[in-house]
Structures are given as structure tokens and as C-alpha cells.
């Protein structure tokens, strides 16, 4: 009983600071003041908003997958290091997270710009005559978002990988599995859960991204969060709420689909053994 009581403040906090505000967002998007789908119709029928919606989904998916492809091997590398060396390597991974996203975004402008470090070096080396356009492109948005999100994926993967009993890998090797096979058959399935969770977290955070596309992207690289902020400051709260509901719904849908698919996959793996 006392255990349940200690949960109460947490529940109250979530209720007051999360559930009630989300409820108000739903109310704002659906009632004006009577029930209306006007905001959703407007969102779906105006080409610009749907285009931004699809590009938000696309950017978030690509960023999440690139983070997985880059971050998983890094986490694996760190886990395979002697335990005494791991904290320092994790420290290196975490250092960028302590810097403001805004500062890091402006730093990318310095790196990717026309007179930036990369272009200057390439010109100095004689590899190019004219600066390459890297800033204000979709590529710049990807590079910066991956850099910002990568530590989150590495940390999630790392913590699930440390829970894997390393002697299982050794056992597989003793039983005659090649290193590659031991990794594929033993380590990969056991670390998949953490990797999927990390990828989903990156995806969810990317869906709400805002500063990076506004500062580093081209004119077509707006994301839904930019539209929501614009509508809020124009005091079109109903429409802003409707877009937020769409964003939330799309994110939850992807979450459920990926979770369902991965549960099936893990189940399938278990049956095969």
C-alpha cells in the first residue's frame, strides 16, 4: 500500500503536466467552439502542409536509420573494450550532448559554409576551384541532426549491450561458431531490443525537430514543428493543435508498427531456436 502511495506524486505530476495539457491540445484542435474537423481538412487539402508532413517523416526516418548504422558499431566497439576503458569512451560520446543544440547548429554553419573549413581546405588542397554548396541543403540538415542524435542512440545501445553476458559469445565460439556467426546468432538478437528502442527514440525526437532545419536547411526543408511554431505565434491555436495531433498520431503509429514488427521478429527468432 505504501509503495502505491509513493507513486501518487509521480502520477499526479504526469497527469497535471502531461495528460491534461495533451487533452487541452485535443480540445483546441477539435472544438472551435463546437466540434469541427475544419483544421484537419485544411491540413490535408493544402499541398504545402502535406508535403511538409511527408518530408518530416522522411527526414526523421533517415536520421534514425543512419544513427543506427553509425551508432550501433560504436556502441559494440565500446562494449568490447576492457571495462576500465569504457567510461572514458562513453564520456567522449556524451561530451557533445552537454553543448547547446543552437551552438552546435551554428558551428555546422562555420564548418559547411562557402568560406567554411571544409570548402577552404578543399580549395587549398587544389581539389576544387569553386566552393561546393553544402550549407542550406537537405544534406546539411541530415549531417547536423545525426550528429546531435548519435549520442542518444549509442547510450541506449550501450546500456542494453552491457547486460549481455559476454560468456555467451565465448560459449558460441567454443561450440565452433565463427566470430561472425557468434555475433549474428548470439549478440545481435540479444542487443536488437536496445537498438530498436534507441532508433525509435531518435525517430521520435527527430519528428519534433525545429532549429536545425530552420538554420541549416534550404527553403524546402521545413519540418512540422516549424509550422506549428509559426501558427502558435500567429495565435491560430486551433490549427496548431490539429497539426500537433497529426504529428503525435503519426509518431505513435510508427511506434506501434515498429514495436509490433520487432516483437514478431524476436518471437520468430525464439521459435527458430
Amino acid at each position: 500500500m505504501t509503495k502505491r502511495l509513493t507513486l501518487l506524486p509521480g502520477i499526479a505530476l504526469i497527469g497535471m503536466l502531461f495528460l491534461i495539457p495533451v487533452g487541452i491540445v485535443f480540445q483546441q484542435g477539435l472544438f472551435d467552439p463546437v466540434f469541427t474537423t475544419e483544421h484537419f481538412v485544411r491540413f490535408a487539402t493544402r499541398g504545402a502542409y502535406m508535403r511538409i508532413f511527408w518530408s518530416t517523416l522522411q527526414i526523421s526516418t533517415v536520421v534514425a536509420l543512419v544513427c543506427l548504422l553509425v551508432g550501433y558499431p560504436i556502441a559494440y566497439f565500446i562494449v568490447r573494450q576492457p571495462p576500465a576503458r569504457r567510461p572514458f569512451l562513453m564520456f567522449l560520446v556524451l561530451v557533445p550532448m552537454w553543448m547547446s543544440i543552437l551552438a552546435r547548429t551554428y558551428s555546422w554553419m562555420v564548418v559547411l559554409g562557402k568560406e567554411g573549413i571544409i570548402n577552404q581546405s578543399l580549395i587549398w588542397l587544389g581539389l576544387i576551384d569553386e566552393p561546393i554548396k553544402m550549407l542550406f541543403t537537405t544534406g546539411a540538415v541530415y549531417v547536423a541532426m545525426v550528429q546531435i542524435m548519435l549520442p542518444i542512440l549509442i547510450v541506449t545501445c550501450f546500456s542494453s549491450m552491457t547486460e549481455i553476458d559476454q560468456s555467451l559469445l565465448r560459449a558460441a565460439r567454443i561450440m565452433g561458431a565463427s566470430p561472425r556467426k557468434a555475433f549474428r546468432e548470439v549478440f545481435l538478437p540479444l542487443s536488437a531490443e536496445g537498438a530498436i528502442t534507441g532508433t525509435l527514440i531518435v525517430f521520435i525526437l527527430s519528428m519534433g525537430f525545429f532549429i536545425v532545419p530552420a538554420l541549416l536547411g534550404g527553403r524546402r526543408d521545413a519540418m512540422l514543428a516549424n509550422v506549428i511554431s509559426g501558427q502558435v505565434s500567429q495565435t491560430n491555436w486551433g490549427f496548431a493543435a490539429a497539426i500537433s495531433i497529426v504529428l503525435l498520431g503519426a509518431t505513435l503509429l510508427v511506434l506501434v508498427l515498429v514495436r509490433g514488427a520487432s516483437a514478431k521478429l524476436v518471437h520468430h527468432q525464439e521459435e527458430a531456436h
Binding site: L8, Y49, G113, E115, R219, S233, Q234, T235, N236
Partner: protein
Amino acid sequence: MTIKTTFTALTLGATLAAGTAWADGSITYAGSGGGLGQVMKGVFDDPFTAETGIAVNALATSDRASALKAMQVAGKVTWDVTELNPIEYATASLSGWLAPLDWSTIDPSGALPEEAKLPDAGIAATFSTIMAVRTDELPDGKQMTSWANFWDVETFPGGRALQNQPIDNLEFALIADGVAPVDVYTVLATAEGQDRAFAKLDEIKPHITAWWTAGAQPVQMLSDGEVAYTSAWNGRITKLASEGVPVEINWNGGGIKASYVAIVKGSENVETGQQFISYMMTNPERAAQFASMVPYPGMVKGLYDHIPAEKGAMMPTHPDNVGKQFVTDAVFWGKNLGPLKERWEDWILE
């Protein structure tokens, strides 16, 4: 036990919050914070407190129209005096979120011109969206003096930037297309005029390196050499030039904007609020001191008598500059921003 502690903490928190909001002899001023807030503190807030004993609780705020709406909806007004940009002012004024001002008590001696005294706000400062030019990027012997030049990418090659919003850009496009600055809003009020502005923007669109969204971006892009020509806010360019970057302001076709001060409807400190507005707006020496620190001059008569000539020349309302620009029509934009912004968003993604 835990619950009790939580409740105690909550009650204590609420008491403290209420204590700050309702302390006697203080007003809450919703400003912009940052460097501007620092200057205002030195020139207005602290001397005002020293003279009157009324503390000024200055907040760093943004998205003020949204905040005002929230206060009116919730019925809990936490700001007394607020700064407003033209769109925020138009929204707040048309929605009735501002208290009427009594100009006979704020400006009894008539220090301010009539156009600075609106029924529900005062024009406390002015700034301008101007064209900033990297002088070292200009072709030999050429000067960029107009928006028509900005559109002329043959004569003036080089990167360009504009702000990612319809305000200013539709006006600049019409001026580049030959409309006289005074006629801009007459033309823009018609559907044909709006089509004309977007058609002109079509011409420059492929040559725009970046569409900026924050005032710091054009400054950054000019100093990094990312663009040679961009729209920007005048004060930022004055500062950039003083740091040694070869940039110049071209005032021709700039869009002058007012920064308004107003009292929020429902404020319990209307009288002290008016007292503070009067202190900010009506003293030419003090206004000159402010304007020479940040080039956003107020409207008080005789202001330029107290400002050195070379500093005055960097200000949007200086007699040499004011006639070259148009005044951004806050009410036009307050009424038309919604549809034009949607059209703009479609256009920018095309």
C-alpha cells in the same frame, strides 16, 4: 508523509509565486531581454526605480501575441507593460487585449508627435528592415542602391538572402518592379497586386542562397561571406560594421517598423504602467542616450538635437533616411497575414 511534503512544497511554491507577482510598488515589463534588455535596464529601468521607488521587473519574452492571448483566455494577467512588434500589436489591438492609454497624463507637455500616440499603444522605438551590402563584393565602380539592383543578378552577381516570410518581401518585390514606396499598400491590397509581387519574387527565388528566420542569421551570413546582399534589421548591421566587416546599409526601399509599448488589458498597475511609458518615451535626452546605444530611435521631438551627426545618420528615422523608406503597415498585415502567409508557404516549397 510524501503527499504531505509534496503539498507543502506546492503551497509554498504558490505562495512565493504570488508574492512576486503582487508585490507593491513594482511593474512587470515584457521586453526582449538580451543586449537590448541590458541597455534598457541602464537607461530606463534602474533610473526609474531610483526616482520613483517602483521596481521594474523586466522579462525576456518572445511570441508575445500568443502569451497575451493565453493571459486573456486564462483570465490571469501577469504582465503590466509589454513591448510589441507590428504584427503582435495589430493582433493584440484588433483582438482587444490592450488597455486604453491616457495620453494627457503620459505626455502632458506634448513632447511626442501625434503619430506616436495610438489609443492603446505608444511607439517607443523604430527599426527598419533594410538592404545590407557587403561593399567588397560589389562589382568595380558599381553601387547597389535599390531593390531593382538587388533583383539584377547580371550586374550584381553574388549570394543573396531574404527573410522567410511575406512581410517586407512583397513590398520589396513591388518596389523592385517599379511601384513607388508610398503606393505599395494600395497595390498590395488588390489581388492583382499580390500576384504581381509573387511573380516578381519568382524571378529572384532561384538566386536566393538562404531564407533567414532569425535576426542573427543575415549577420552571420554576411560576416562569413555566405551572401553579399541581404535584407536585415538596421541595428544589427550598424553593429556588424563597427566590428570591421565591410558592410553598408542601403536605406532605399527599407521598411520602417515601430516597436510599440502597451498596457495589457486586465493589468492591476495601469497608473504606474503609464508612468513608466511616459518615462521611456517623453524625455529627449534620455531617448537620445538610448538611441546612441542601440540604433532604434524613439519618436520624441528634438531627439536628433542630442545625437551626434554620424550616429544619427545610422538611424531609420533620421531626416536623411526616413524619406527613402516606406512604413510597414501593421494593420494591413494584421488583417492579411493569414492568407498571405499560407500562399507564401506554398510558394516557398514549390
